[in-house]
């Protein structure tokens, strides 16, 4: 296969996976939230259980007029959703679904993931600024402040994993976790990093990831009861759909990163390495589903914090903890 054909195939594959997963996540959120709230949720679209509701919503949004406020900075306003969705998309490039199922195995995978995932906040800031709406502006600035506050703990948490794994390539990080840890009765047992001392790191990563995804309890950039959806206020139609899809795609992507870094990625103790190219994607998706469920569960249980409380939490607690965690990771690397 030629280079371009392969590339095209990969792009299509990533797009399909991302959009598919985003739609499934949206459906899961609709259904789970409904049942947590003594509701049924979508029921009619698509016949059984309303499975086609996200599609129907998407189609409905596509028919809507794509409005641009008169005073908006039109170019930036139009560009912003693409930035968000590209950021969510680009993460998938380095996520390994199996030993050889990875689009590009970058040596600096962990670094790349962090860099790209924070790009979406740039899109949010663009949207907030360009909308020419005060609520949007406040929302965009909150998102930017949040990014600065949470990029550091995120980085520190990932750094600890990198220290412990001794590599920045995500494929190799998974491979390290799949290595036998100790042998019980002749059976080699492997363990993901969350077991091998990274529980603090995992917690920090998840908190920071939720903050970066601006989901409850850290959804201040959107905050519908304060800012009437913040940076999304002026968006409609297809551009709103892109934000919406991007949000859920980022959620899945972040979960995939967390699963790869802390939960052993596509590897599962007990699953033979030879079958991982087939079973691996499902193992990874299972772990992603778990994390996504956790995020949905948080969202429909907890209220929103305040921006300054979030900042205080990041700077006072998460960053010192993250630093401590790196030290611990060094110790674990020597001991374990």
């Amino acid at each position: 296969m030629s280079f371009w054909a392969t590339l095209g195939l990969q792009v299509v594959a990533v797009l399909a996976v991302m959009l598919g997963l985003a739609l499934v996540t949206i459906y899961a959120e609709l259904k789970i939230s409904a049942h947590m709230q003594s509701r049924i949720g979508p029921y009619y679209a698509g016949g059984r259980w309303g499975w086609a509701q996200p599609l129907a919503d998407g189609l409905k949004f596509l028919q809507k007029e794509d409005l641009v406020p008169r005073l908006a900075d039109s170019t930036v306003y139009r560009l912003a959703p693409y930035v968000v969705i590209v950021a969510a998309l680009a993460v998938w490039v380095v996520i390994p679904f199996g030993p050889s199922l990875v689009v590009r195995d970058l040596d600096l995978g962990a670094f790349y993931v962090l860099a790209v995932s924070s790009l979406s906040t740039l899109g949010v800031l663009m949207a907030g600024w360009a909308s020419a709406n005060k609520y949007s502006l406040i929302g965009g600035l909150r998102a930017a402040a949040q990014l600065i506050a949470y990029e550091l703990p995120l980085l520190l948490a990932v750094l600890a994993v990198v220290v412990q794994a001794g590599t920045m390539s995500l494929s190799e990080i998974v491979a390290v976790q799949a290595e036998p840890w100790f042998v019980v009765a002749g059976v080699p047992i492997s363990a993901p990093f969350i077991v091998k001392g990274q529980i603090i790191g995992f917690t920090i990563f998840m908190i920071a990831a939720i903050a970066e995804l601006s989901r409850i309890p850290f959804d201040m950039p959107i905050a519908e009861s304060e800012l009437t959806m913040g940076y999304l206020t002026e968006y409609s139609g297809i551009r709103f759909t892109m934000f919406f899809l991007g949000e859920y795609a980022s959620m899945v992507a972040m979960s995939a990163i967390a699963a790869t870094l802390y939960l052993g990625g596509y590897a599962l103790p007990g699953v033979p390495a030879a079958t991982l190219n087939v079973v691996g994607p499902f193992v990874l998706l299972g772990k992603v589903a778990l994390l996504v469920f956790l995020m949905i569960w948080f969202r429909w249980t907890w209220p929103r914090l305040r921006e300054d409380q979030l900042q205080a939490m990041a700077w006072r607690w998460l960053i010192p903890l993250g630093l401590l965690n790196i030290v611990l990771a060094g110790i674990f690397k020597v001991v374990l």
Binding site: I32, M36, S38, R39, I40, Y43, W297, F298, T301
Partner: protein
Amino acid sequence: MAYDKSIRPPFAGLWKGMWATLKALFRRPPTVFYPEEKEIPVPRARGVISLDTEACTVCMLCARECPDWCIYIEGHKEEVPPSKPGGRPRTRAKLDRFDIDFALCMYCGICVEVCPFDALFWSPEYEYSEYSIADLLHPVERLTEWLDTVPEPPALESS
């Protein structure tokens, strides 16, 4: 009081809430699937006003007592031939128009209450929405249709 603000284990409240929503996830929702199954309103429910034209004597009490003047009645007097030969011809009020503007109606029920001839009743029927506000002015034909849906009054709590 039950609400102390003392220090508890860290984030106990957060986990408690998570447990509560998790329990709710597996509970049966009380949803009624509206167009397919319908809730039966209580017999006293003030859904819509129905009219018994036979009983109405065009006395105008309801129209006058209505707080927002949403009942429009027109009528005329009619000579009724004597019931038996040689009797006196009687005059009777005949109803020409009885419209209720349900866009204005505030469902207070005063018209039903003041009607001295049992011509107005509450029906719990509620599915009479219209696309245009003007269509909510329901004429006498529609008001009489609802007469069949007037339920039996409920039994009373023995006191």
